[in-house]
């Protein structure tokens, strides 16, 4: 058994496998399928200060090797999370991060302040990359100035580990990653979904009610790998890589590209046990290649 432990700032992960926000609910939905405490961490559903109903239906379109969603941050708000969900998560022996989002900087701050009070939530993932909301979300994540504004503002009120989730829908992700790091991010996670659309030719209409949505699944993996690689050359903070990871081999590719940990997203829909299989598969890979630790392969791409 290789050493799978990694640190992301102050977070000590028993293994480098986390779940991507919006694909794992609050973890509770997976209790029938897996022992959630085996995971390195879970990132719970995108949370905002005010409850949000999310977008109109249809919100999902299946595409070649992937899918589009336009859920639009449907959630019951930070206070509901703190009072109704948080107590149920105390049973888990894993790192629980809350994905924090907002329409304005004030909303990000207010949400982060509530989460900051929860003792057993050791970190947040600041979502400045949701492509499915009209205001805020990705708008914050696509320029250095707006990244600086929101990340610096939340940094002032949030004192635990702050991961900033980057958007792939940008020209130079390295530059934006440096902006997030300079503004106080302890870690960067990427990629969020890619802005995309699907059309029903017979009806001559968009499939999604919002016309555009976010693409995820194996279709996006090559783009995600390239962006993780670029960001790993641009910043010193640890990177959490994601985008189309369907198995342990995919995960290994992200470590080689420079990620210290990974998140599994859309694959959870197809196989709710996939995260456990990926943890075991990473261990098998280390043994097969006679590596004693996951650190032997992080950034280990041979050029």
């Amino acid at each position: 058994m290789g050493d799978l432990t990694v640190n992301i700032h102050n977070l000590k992960l028993k293994n480098p496998v986390l779940t991507a926000s919006g694909t794992f609910g609050y973890g509770l939905e997976y209790d029938d399928f897996i022992d959630v405490s085996r995971l390195g961490g879970i990132v719970v559903k995108g949370t905002t200060i005010h409850p949000r109903q999310g977008n109109e239906y249809p919100r999902m379109a299946e595409t070649a090797s992937g899918m589009l969603n336009s859920v639009g941050l449907q959630n019951k708000g930070a206070k509901y999370f703190a009072t109704d969900i948080y107590p149920k998560l105390l049973k888990y022996d894993t790192n629980i991060l809350v994905n924090v989002s907002g329409s304005t900087i004030e909303e990000y701050i207010a949400c982060a302040e509530i989460i900051n009070e929860l003792d057993h939530i050791p970190g947040i993932e600041l979502n400045i990359s949701c492509p499915n909301v009209k205001e805020g979300g990705m708008a914050f994540g696509t320029s250095c100035a707006s990244i600086d504004a929101v990340v610096s503002a939340v940094r002032k009120v949030y004192h635990k580990t702050m991961v900033v989730k980057l958007s792939p829908n940008v020209t130079d992700i390295g530059e934006l990653a440096r902006a997030a790091e300079a503004s106080g991010a302890d870690s960067l996670s990427l990629i969020n979904t890619l802005m995309a659309m699907a059309i029903d030719a017979e009806r001559r209409k968009p499939i999604l009610a919002t016309i555009t949505g976010g693409l995820s699944g194996p279709a996006v993996k090559p783009i995600a790998l390239r962006q993780v690689w670029e960001v790993s050359k641009s910043v010193k903070v640890p990177i959490i890589g994601m985008g189309g990871i369907m198995n342990a081999t995919d995960a290994i590719e992200f470590f080689l590209a420079g990620a210290s940990a990974i998140q599994v997203g859309t694959a959870n829909y197809l196989d709710p046990m996939i995260t456990i299989k990926i943890i075991d598969g990473i261990d098998d890979y280390l043994n097969r290649h006679k590596f004693s630790s996951i650190h032997d392969i992080i950034g280990g791409l041979q050029l």
């Binding site: 794992f24 609910g25 939905e29 070649a64 959870n268 197809l270």
Partner: protein, 259 residues
């Protein structure tokens, strides 16, 4: 029973007509109770175009053989591939998912209204209602007589009525043209329905007018099937609800339908 993902063995693939099949799938484990209204999410293996699982109502359950049956209407590539499943092969199946129909606690006279592949969710319901000595009537609507399937099976559990749009069998027209859903509706204490949305809306309207308890099983496109992707929502008086976990069965009084 709790949700599980298993490779189930195909022990029968019954072709009902050109585009309807019933797959009987066997678990290696003892099945625990599965409720009428619940569904299964089947993986379409080795497809270059089908990415997500496909949800199907659990048509019937055999606790002796540990089998579930799913009723497949061929719509696209996923359902076409599943309709070709070979006996002896295995299908990666997530089940049982979703809530369940609410059964009466005392003997009642109940009407089940199914249209198209919507009949799939009504078979196990009819069986359960019949087993509890309710008086069951089943009204099934189809385009044409060739689309009316499994009537003999339904007739084991209640009186079967039919409508066809072309008049080739039963009353000509839609289910709402049948007297059992019109003049005779007041005789029933409950109505359950599953089928195309316009049909269910018409059924719901009739039930609502007469203040009869009515539950519908909704269909929706889903990515996960267990309440995490939040894609398969429907509008209710309590906001958006997931069809996969808070449904697929909804009381008409909860739904925000214009009826």
């Amino acid at each position: 029973m709790r949700k599980t993902v298993q490779n189930l063995k195909v022990i029968a693939n019954l072709r009902l007509n050109d585009d309807h099949h019933i797959l009987r799938l066997q678990s290696a484990d003892k099945l625990e109770q599965i409720h009428p209204g619940q569904f299964a999410n089947l993986l379409v293996a080795n497809s270059s175009t089908v990415f997500l699982r496909r949800p199907f109502s659990i048509y019937s359950v055999d606790y002796t053989l540990n089998t579930i049956s799913v009723y497949i209407k061929i719509i696209g590539e996923g359902t076409r591939a599943l309709s070709k499943a070979v006996v002896g092969s295995e299908i990666d199946t997530m089940f049982p998912l979703g809530n369940k129909f609410t059964l009466p606690t005392e003997k009642e006279k109940v009407l089940l209204v199914g249209g198209g592949s919507g009949v799939a969710s009504l078979m196990s319901l009819a069986q359960s209602l019949h087993a509890k000595s309710n008086e069951v009537a089943i009204l099934i609507g189809a385009r044409s007589s060739k689309d009316l399937v499994e009537l003999d099976e339904f007739s084991k559990f209640g009186t079967v009525y039919t409508t066809t749009e072309d008049g080739t069998q039963g009353v000509k027209g839609y289910v709402t043209n049948h007297p059992v859903l019109d003049l005779e509706l007041s005789a029933f204490q409950r109505v359950y329905s599953c089928g195309p949305e316009p049909m269910m809306k018409a059924v719901a309207k009739k039930a609502k007018e007469k203040s009869i308890f009515c539950e519908l099983s909704l269909e929706n496109t889903m990515a996960c099937g267990f309440g995490v992707c939040l894609c398969c929502i429907t509008k209710t008086i309590d906001g958006h609800k997931c069809v996969c976990t808070e449904g697929p069965v909804f009381n008409i009084n909860i739904l925000k339908w214009e009826i």
